[in-house]
Each structure stands twice: as structure tokens, then as C-alpha cells.
């Protein structure tokens, strides 16, 4: 079963605008990761944030993590047409040896040129 949910399920914005998507999860985690999936390149890792971190940046991406609320957000600034894809958060469990990722339901992002 899916670990959690993402919202919105779908988002359409104009090129150049910022896109924010949210993720909620249910159990304790070691880290939370965001992945992008499109038909051309498959599922690609974007960024990882550890459970003891609150915010992380990578290029035009900003991720926040609130473990008390079991939620995370991904902000993409200055969006481009190439950012059109589905975005998934994925959590890695908090106990030793548990490497599997549990994915959310995803947000479909469409950037309108």
C-alpha cells in the first residue's frame, strides 16, 4: 500500500511560475526523497532530505520536512516546460536495514509554455 499521499494530484502552471507540491506520510522515517517520472527518462532521483534536516536546496528545488506533522513539500522555482512530469515523494523507513522506499501517490505537474 502507498505510504502517504501527495497533493495536489494535478497542477498546471505557466512557465516561469513556481510550483509547490506536498507530501504526507504515516510512519517514522530515516529520510525522504523526491523523484520525477516522465515518459522520456523514467524515474529519476531529485533530492534527499534526512529526518534530522528541515530544509534542503538543490538548484531550483527546495525541499522542506516537518517530522512532527509527517509532511514534506517540494518547491520548484522558475518552472520550465521540461519540468512537466509526475513527482513522487518516497520515504525510507526508520529502522536499521530497511532500505525499501515507500512512494506516495504522485503529483502530475504540467508547465504551460
Amino acid at each position: 500500500s502507498q505510504q502517504g499521499e501527495e497533493d495536489p494530484q494535478a497542477l498546471s502552471i505557466q512557465e516561469g511560475e513556481n510550483a509547490t507540491m506536498n507530501c504526507s506520510y504515516k510512519t517514522s522515517i530515516n529520510n525522504l526523497q523526491w523523484y520525477r517520472q516522465n515518459s522520456g527518462r523514467g524515474l529519476v532521483h531529485l533530492i534527499l532530505i534526512r529526518s534530522n534536516e528541515r530544509e534542503k536546496h538543490s538548484g531550483r528545488l527546495r525541499v522542506t520536512l516537518d517530522t512532527s506533522k509527517k509532511s514534506s513539500s517540494l518547491l520548484i522555482t522558475a518552472s520550465r516546460a521540461a519540468d512537466t512530469a509526475s513527482y513522487f515523494c518516497a520515504t525510507r523507513g526508520g529502522y536499521f536495514g530497511n532500505e525499501k522506499l515507500t512512494f506516495g501517490t504522485g503529483t502530475r505537474l504540467t508547465i504551460i509554455p
Partner: protein
């Protein structure tokens, strides 16, 4: 460098047939994962290996699903007596190991299985 490869990319099977899906991970990656992705959903964990040891198979939906990685490199996911509900994209991923710094998983392009 070479990424994770999977074959075949597409497979059509008649209900009741057995299928075998292959995954070649990135060379040197210790951990290998299989996920199932239904249309419009996120990937769901099936099983994972550390080298040749299958450490977690809790996500395999039934005993018709079997995975192996006998030499700690290439892996095969086998589905016996396929059913229509098995239709999905099967994703393979690999990672360097189990530390947090190695958590990033590299995914293959997937095998789209259609059971008719």
C-alpha cells in the same frame, strides 16, 4: 556510464502463462529492488536483495511471484500463471548500499507487462 537496464521493455502474456523479467543493475551496486507500478499510481515495493541475499519479500503479492539474484548481480522476477491484475510496469532499481548516503536509488526504464 551504463544505468540500470531491464528486458524485455514490453511483454504481452496470455492469462496463465509464466513470464520472466530481467534486471541488470549498475555495476558494483549492492542493493537491488523490484517495484510494481499500476497506471496512475506510485511504485509499490515488491522485494529487495543485498548482494545475493533476499532480505525483504514482504511486497510480493502472492506465491506466484518469485525473484532471484543468484550471483549478486543480475536479477530475475518471475511471475507464474499470470493473471490480468498482474498487468503493470515492473521497475527495477539499484543502490550502492544501506547507509543513508547511499539511499538514492537508480531506476531502470521498466518492463510493461500486459496480461490478456
Amino acid at each position: 556510464g551504463a544505468g540500470v537496464s531491464q528486458s524485455p521493455r514490453y511483454k504481452v502474456a496470455k492469462r496463465g502463462q509464466d513470464v520472466a523479467l530481467r534486471c541488470d543493475p549498475i555495476s558494483g551496486h549492492v542493493s537491488l529492488f523490484w517495484y510494481q507500478q499500476a497506471l496512475g499510481q506510485g511504485p509499490e515495493f515488491l522485494t529487495y536483495f543485498q548482494n545475493e541475499a533476499q532480505l525483504d519479500k514482504s511486497g510480493l503479492p502472492s506465491d506466484r511471484f518469485f525473484a532471484e539474484r543468484p550471483e549478486g548481480s543480475v536479477s530475475t522476477l518471475k511471475i507464474q500463471r499470470t493473471q490480468q491484475e498482474d498487468s503493470a510496469v515492473y521497475l527495477c532499481a539499484s543502490s550502492l548500499g544501506w547507509g543513508t548516503e547511499f539511499s538514492e536509488q537508480y531506476f531502470g526504464p521498466g518492463t510493461r507487462l500486459t496480461v490478456t
